[in-house]
Amino acid sequence: MSKDWPLWEVFVRSKGGLSHRHVGSVHAPDGEIAIRHARDTYTRRMEGVSLWVVPSASIIASDPADDGPMFEPAEDKIYRHPTFYDIPDGITHI
């Protein structure tokens, strides 16, 4: 049966204030059942407070063949990392 059902990508917000994170995917006949399946598959151990599901077919992905032009130009631009600042003592979570 599941091969007849479309695939949905699942995003879980683990607690208020954090963003939803991709955790995996489920098969389901429609969005409402996909939310149920996501709840039963990915939040049964208190992993989340909010769920999104998105039809996998709606995701537009970058082409692995374009990895060179897409991602390599960033490799030698170390000045884009904010590592040239002195962080004062007592500042945490950076």
Binding site: S2, V26, A28, P29, R36, D40
Partner: protein, 250 residues
Amino acid sequence: MDQALFQYVLRLGDDGLILGQRLSEWTGHAPSVEVDLSLANMALDLIGQATHFLHYAGQIEGQGRDGDALAFRRDVMDFGNCVLVEQPNGDFAQTMARQFLFSTWQKMLLERLIGSKDELIASVAAKSVKEVTYHQELSEEWVVRLGDGTAESHRRMAAGLDWMWRFIPELFEMDSVGEEMLARGIGADPASFRADYDRKLLAVLDQATLEAPKDQRPILGGRRGHHSEHLGHLLCAMQFLPRTYPDAKW
């Protein structure tokens, strides 16, 4: 011993235990891995509720039996679950028909038991009603989807409801145990939500493009230990290990 309270709590526990065992039979066999998890989650919720009620029943009885002893060392005539929950799984539509009829009733019952004068019943009801609300919604959604799906799913959903329909009247039956619990402010009167229950069923069936099955001869008696042939077979599988290896440990 408080005989009426013992029987009442035992019935609440047996409903959850037997339906939980039935649902767990799907594990590894469901139509998809997601549905497998849904059914196993529901089974665990129900067995968790049964654990609370059966342990409490053992305390009320005061003969040294705990929840495990009540679950695994009673014979079929001593079970007080309704006949609906012991019905075979059949196909997925039949399982969802059983779940929808039971969870809709159980949710309405638990909502009332939250106000029970018995502290343990009230607190287990308050915790369980959230789980059961989910069971009710999920089974309702499947009834609608299968009923209003393909010609085959419609036929199967109608057949599943037709199988389960004759067990509804028992859910609303009252006897001396129920009357006493009601009078003492411990139990709930199922008659108080019968109209809501019927309305809910008809609304969902309408959405599912299904007709209510014709009224059939009701099957009653589970609360008094008169069960269908199916319960004995279920208990064989459920009780085999603890009866063969008493007090076995992991």
